[in-house]
């Protein structure tokens, strides 16, 4: 038992930022980002305690956690568009200085708004590849899709994000 707890403590410290960023990219606001990251880690813990020591040791934590997070985010937002508007005053940014913070906040808002406008399959693919910096192989593994499908979804997402015509991208 203690072994699993140590593994989990390290896992939380190592992956918390990554999972929070993933939650933010998929939901578009801090509150939901934190909930996605927290739910992901708690689900991971409940699974870990049932695994054999060998399985825990051989676990590829990054893709495994991403797969859980994608499911958590999907379940939370089934049938919903991600929330775009943040409540003022509830956020604490880690960047110093009010100007830098405001600027970055505006950028973040634009980026997440653009991501929110994408169809979910494009959004998930491009977020895993570029926000989370997974390889195509890893992203394909996380999404349970062929690599080619992920590549073309990322490609289409990027076209839409750059403002290129959706219809032509679908040709």
């Amino acid at each position: 038992m203690e072994g699993v707890e140590r593994v989990f403590e390290r896992m939380v410290h190592e992956h918390q930022d990554r999972l929070y960023a993933l939650g933010y990219a998929l939901t578009g606001n801090r509150h939901d980002a934190e909930e996605v990251a927290q739910d992901t880690l708690l689900r991971a813990y409940r699974a870990l305690v049932t695994y054999s020591p060998d399985r825990v040791r051989e676990l590829k934590q990054r893709p495994w956690l991403h797969r859980i997070a994608i499911n958590v985010a999907r379940n939370r937002h089934r049938g919903l568009r991600p929330r775009l508007v943040e409540l003022n005053g509830s956020e604490q940014d880690t960047t110093p200085g009010p100007e830098a913070r405001a600027l970055r906040q505006a950028q973040l808002h634009d980026v997440t708004a653009a991501l929110a406008g994408l169809p979910p399959r494009y959004r998930e693919a491009v977020v895993l590849r570029y926000v989370q910096d997974l390889s195509y192989d890893e992203a394909a593994q996380v999404l349970g899709q062929p690599v080619g499908t992920v590549k073309s979804n990322v490609h289409r997402a990027l076209k839409l994000l750059r403002g290129e015509n959706h219809d032509r991208a679908n040709d």
Binding site: E5, Q16, D17, A21, Y24, Q38, L42, T94, D110, G163
Partner: protein, 257 residues
Amino acid sequence: MTVQTTDLKELGRLKAPAGFSERVLSQAGIGDTYAVFDTVLGPVHVAWNGHGVSAAMRVGSDEEFEEWFEREVGRPLTAAAPPADLAARLANELGGRRGLRFDLRGLTEFEQSVLRKAREIPRGQVRPYGWIAREIGHPRAVRAVGTALANNPIPYFIPCHRVVRSDGVIGNYGGGGPEAKKQILSLEGVRLSKLQELARSGYRYEGVRSTKIYCYPTCHHARRAQERNVVWLHDEAEARAQGFRPCKVCRPPAAAA
């Protein structure tokens, strides 16, 4: 606006908010949380986690407790609302009814056995350090027992204050110094002045003539004896010479044959 891959990578550099990992670990029952409880000893800071109560200390402020916990236990700690029944269970424990679970994982096996043994000493009684050492099977490790008790992370609830020096000196106390130790023992009904008077005169055991049994002076059975049957004894050899046997409840040492 158009979004470039560099914007997406920037998004990936976001950091989880402060305290996030602590909240997750605490939710999983791994990290520790704490609150302040009003007890018969005054306000006590108590930390707990999924395994039980992990630390307690009387301190002046939250910051002081957090610093102490960081130093002594070294796990992440956050303030939180306590489980509904914890306040009542803490009060029961101080009142002599045991029902708390403790998390002693960070301690060595020796330290754990010392603290578990200290927990067997009933409220209102005291035992010498050597008693613990003998009971846990390390009769010569008296100093190590003292160190383990001094580092007790859960004083008051694990009653290290009930272990005193056999010469009557109250001895050091990790839970707030000798004065605090005296205060708690008095609160529990130990007659310290009597105890110290006996110790100064070199008396360590109370023999009961009618039963031919000798006890530590605070043992429940010794205190039940009638005044006229009581005889004070310097050591186990004297007890043996006068035909006494050790009490089976408080278990003072037997004289070497």
